[in-house]
């Protein structure tokens, strides 16, 4: 079972590595979207500092759902997905492996890039650390829940917009606890509660989402 996981992971990472432009597009979207807010709202430092956690979290949310189309679509188009569905190995495991690859390619770069953007928003150093930590705990949840939406909308007309409508309401708790951790830390409440809740969400979706996404794939392809 471990071998299937690693094989699919290796394959997906290799494919992403060969088509690097996709990765860059997601990252650039994150950068551009987050840079628009100071222009639209106010470049004043106090305002920016207050808005930063929310804006960076929303930008991360949007860019991660934007890249969901790639999760299964290419494999669906060339028939690989059908072969994966026929495999005797558990489908949830294959899905989990694809989700991990998706997170490594589209979630992890966001986490690594977020300190830079947080600096632009004039966040103090401890807050930057908290924000990066919350993104590191939260972005896997975005990929996991997103996989369900991506599997349900597989091959549909206008699926890219639809997947946002399906997934974003479900991700509200991640957004609240993720952005809330930075605010709570700033106001001296401590961040343990928020991080525990984010970790709980991660553990919960880690169990449920691959299974639900596997069933969605069977509905969409089978």
């Amino acid at each position: 079972m471990g071998r299937v996981f690693l094989t699919v992971l290796h394959r997906d990472l290799q494919l992403a590595f060969r088509r690097r432009s996709d990765v860059w597009t997601t990252l650039s979207f994150f950068l551009v979207a987050a840079s628009l807010f100071p222009l639209a709202v106010s470049p004043e430092r106090d305002t920016l500092r207050g808005m930063a956690p929310g804006i960076l979290w929303v930008a991360a949310l949007l860019s991660s759902t934007l890249s969901l189309g790639r999760l299964f679509a290419l494999d669906h188009a060339d028939g690989t997905l059908e072969q994966l569905l026929l495999s005797p190995e558990p489908l949830s495991l294959i899905v989990l492996s694809k989700v991990v690859a998706h997170w490594l390619v589209s979630g992890l770069p966001l986490v690594l890039l977020s300190p830079l953007l947080a600096l632009q928003y004039d966040l103090p150093t401890p807050a930057i650390a908290v924000l990066t930590g919350s993104l590191a705990l939260g972005t896997p949840v975005l990929s996991l829940v997103g996989a369900i939406g991506a599997a349900l909308t597989l091959g549909l007309q206008g699926g890219g917009v639809l997947v946002n409508l399906l997934v974003l309401p479900l991700l509200v708790p991640v957004l609240i606890f993720g952005a809330g951790s930075v605010v709570a830390h700033g106001s001296g409440q401590g961040l343990a509660a928020h991080f525990y809740l984010l970790a709980a969400l991660l553990a919960f979706t880690l169990v449920v989402a691959p299974w639900a996404a596997a069933h969605s794939l069977k509905v969409s392809v089978g």
């Binding site: 639809l162 309401p169 479900l170 708790p173 605010v183 969409s220």
Partner: protein, 267 residues
Amino acid sequence: MSTTTWLRHRQPDGAAATRGLWRFASPPAAFRLAGQLRPWAIALAAVTAVIGLYVGLLVAPTDHQQGEAYRIIFVHVPAAWLSMVLYVAMAFWSAVGWVFNTRVSSLLARAIAPTGALFTFLALWTGALWGQPTWGTWWVWDARLTSELILLFLYLGVMALQSAIDDPLRGDRAGALLTLVGVVNVPVIYFSVQWWNTLHQGASVSFRSAPTMAAPMLAGMLLCTVALWAWAVAVVLQRLRTLILQREADAAWVRALLAPHQTGVAR
């Protein structure tokens, strides 16, 4: 196993051989049952709505804090209750349809979604109308308001997914799966929104600290709840009948049923 396999087959004349509630898993039987229940639901809705609105608008005393504006609760509270009840009902029938492969259950889940979305919207709208004179604002990011808004998004998502999928069976199952994922998430959303709100600012108005109601107010509200509930049942049953006819358009019993109405356009 045998139960689920025969349920999938078309049964031309309403599965007379099956007993108990399973009988209504057959589309013609469900179609007939829905047709029989619908007039009763409409009658119940009409009677309780008239009495409930009479009690609520004319008998119930004016609230000493909120004045006459409070009377919107006779629509608002039942609508808010139903918006949640209907989502759970939709999830229940989705689960039944998923497990037993009964088409009528999936159709029933489909039929519930627009009514649920309507009640969610009605709850938000009447809430805004009540909030303006009472709180002085149309909208606050209160825990209840926000989670109700997200509930509306969940309904819209399910409906959008169902209508985006052309293959009816795939649409049923995809919608069912999304509904079930949503129902798991609803408590999480509710508590996250509540904690988020209380962490930032104290809730300005809490429903829990509301004064105990006068008896006519409570009676009016319960009667209106029964009215809206019965109306929801009637509308859902009517929509179910339409969906069954649409889905079973090629079945012999539907053609026989519609034959007197469409002479000349026979298929």
